[in-house]
Amino acid sequence: MPISQLLLGVLALGAAYALIALGFVLILNATGAVNFSQGDLVMAGGFGAVALGQALHWTGLALLPALLVGMAALGVVLAVLTYLPLRRRPPEAVFISTIAFGIILQNLANRLFGAEPLAAPSLLGAGRVRFAGVNASLQSLATIGVAALLIVALHVMFTHTQTGRRLRAMAQDRDVALAMGIPVDRMVVGTFAVAAALAGGAGLLLSNVFFVTPTSGGEYMVKAYIAVVIGGWGSIAGAVAGALLIAAFEVIYPSIPLLVPALLPWSDTAFSQTTSTIMLDAAVLLILMLRPQGLFGERVRQRP
């Protein structure tokens, strides 16, 4: 297997993880609160894509706009139920209320779709593309394209629109943002909407290859959390980088015996999927001990 093939896999998986981690970090920055239902929003997006696909028989790409709008609406519900009533309480309150919301989503999904794994429609179809010695699925290429488009759109929003600049200002100093006329509560609800839409988009991208079950959110939640810890708590660029690093680890680690044939005898033990997960968690513990500010540190510093 050529390295370029592995890198393509890393990019496709990492781009989808990045969307989840970005949504997580946006809410973290806007409110100081951890949204523990971010993984369940990915699951909801996956089932949303399944349901839309069954109803309309369109490709995933055609379903994406409707899914993003629907997930944004779910994000508004999340903010109104779990954040707004508790916004003057300590952050732990929101931490618990979002966990509760996630459990409600899991049970709803179980009631509506059952516990069997379901596949969301592929973005463009099931074809494969060959170029420069790489044999890539259309799905992974389209995943990279869609995720990159969403990330670029988000970046442009944050740097070139008044709403985006105000969201950043609000994250940096809530009281002063209010005093500048920024309606902080409404902006926070908007942030939840964007975060849920990103998670839903990731759900569509991931649930074609990896399927979706009512409990698949937990795994995504942990990965978003790890990505944000690795990238530096609150750093947007760091969240994307952290997501790519996690994906790189997940794709490359089990493939090491394929690259180094001498290691083949251990491919089912030391290089299994389970070992890979353990190694990833160990790496995070190591990072937290040696570099608690994350690999990428803080963008904003105090002037000495």
Partner: protein
């Protein structure tokens, strides 16, 4: 019937938990006027500023803008009614550029935003030079200029300027306070909280002296400058 003053504060009480910080403060600021708010550290100047913009709730009393009570409105609504707030300690948005810090505070279309940016750069030419720099990279004096320029971006009728000289050298303090006549000429009234009484009274028409959360004395700048209350308040007498 005469028009109500731009800002009236009637019997305002503000509490931090069980501690009362303002005990029934009364004052007013007329349109286009500069009023200095004087007093030692802890006299209640910053608390009054926060209560006026809405970052501290009023426990009792009224705050009127053009005769209309605003004490129950949230801070963002008060800002949009024409109150600019330049907080103590500057508090620029550290991760936003100078230009972005200014833009977020302007509520108008692109043409108006461009116009206001130009006005801000004209008021503080140093900001134009650093327009692309992140705010945390600026020196203290530049950050103070940015904080003032930001509070003027929505062309407020009343500017609450809280301790602009804090942490600045005398030369930079002069440079910042010297802009107040220009701000007044633009039609913005200024309520200036300042520990440096001499400098504040040099740019303000009237002064109000605070001591332990109460108005201890008030008068024209000349009257206050000559009064013994002023010296007593700062010497803790």
């Amino acid at each position: 019937m005469t028009a109500p003053p731009l800002l009236s504060v009637e019997d305002l009480v503000v509490r931090y938990g069980a501690v009362t910080a303002l005990h029934g403060v009364c004052l007013h600021v007329g349109a286009g006027e500069a009023v200095a708010l004087l007093g030692a550290n802890g006299a209640g100047k910053s608390t009054l500023m926060k209560a006026l913009i809405g970052l501290m709730p009023a426990a009792a009393g009224r705050i009127l803008l053009d005769g209309r009570p605003i004490q129950t409105l949230p801070a963002d609504r008060r800002a949009r009614l024409g109150i600019g707030y330049c907080p103590e300690g500057r508090r620029v948005f550290p991760g936003l550029t100078v230009r972005e810090n200014l833009l977020v505070a302007c509520w108008g279309n692109a043409a108006l935003r461009r116009h206001r940016l130009e006005s801000a750069y004209a008021l503080f030419p140093a900001l134009a030079e650093f327009r692309g720099s992140l705010a945390w990279q600026l020196s203290g004096g530049q950050q103070q200029m940015l904080a003032i320029a930001r509070s003027l971006m929505d062309a407020p009728r009343l500017l609450l300027l809280d301790e602009p000289s804090l942490g600045l050298s005398p030369r930079l303090t002069d440079e910042v306070l010297d802009r107040i006549p220009t701000i007044l000429a633009g039609g913005t009234a200024v309520l200036l909280a300042e520990q440096n009484a001499t400098k504040a009274l040099a740019v303000a028409g009237r002064g109000i002296l605070f001591a332990r959360g109460r108005v201890a004395a008030a008068g024209t700048a000349a009257e206050l400058a000559a009064s013994r209350d002023l010296h007593a308040a700062f010497l803790g007498g």
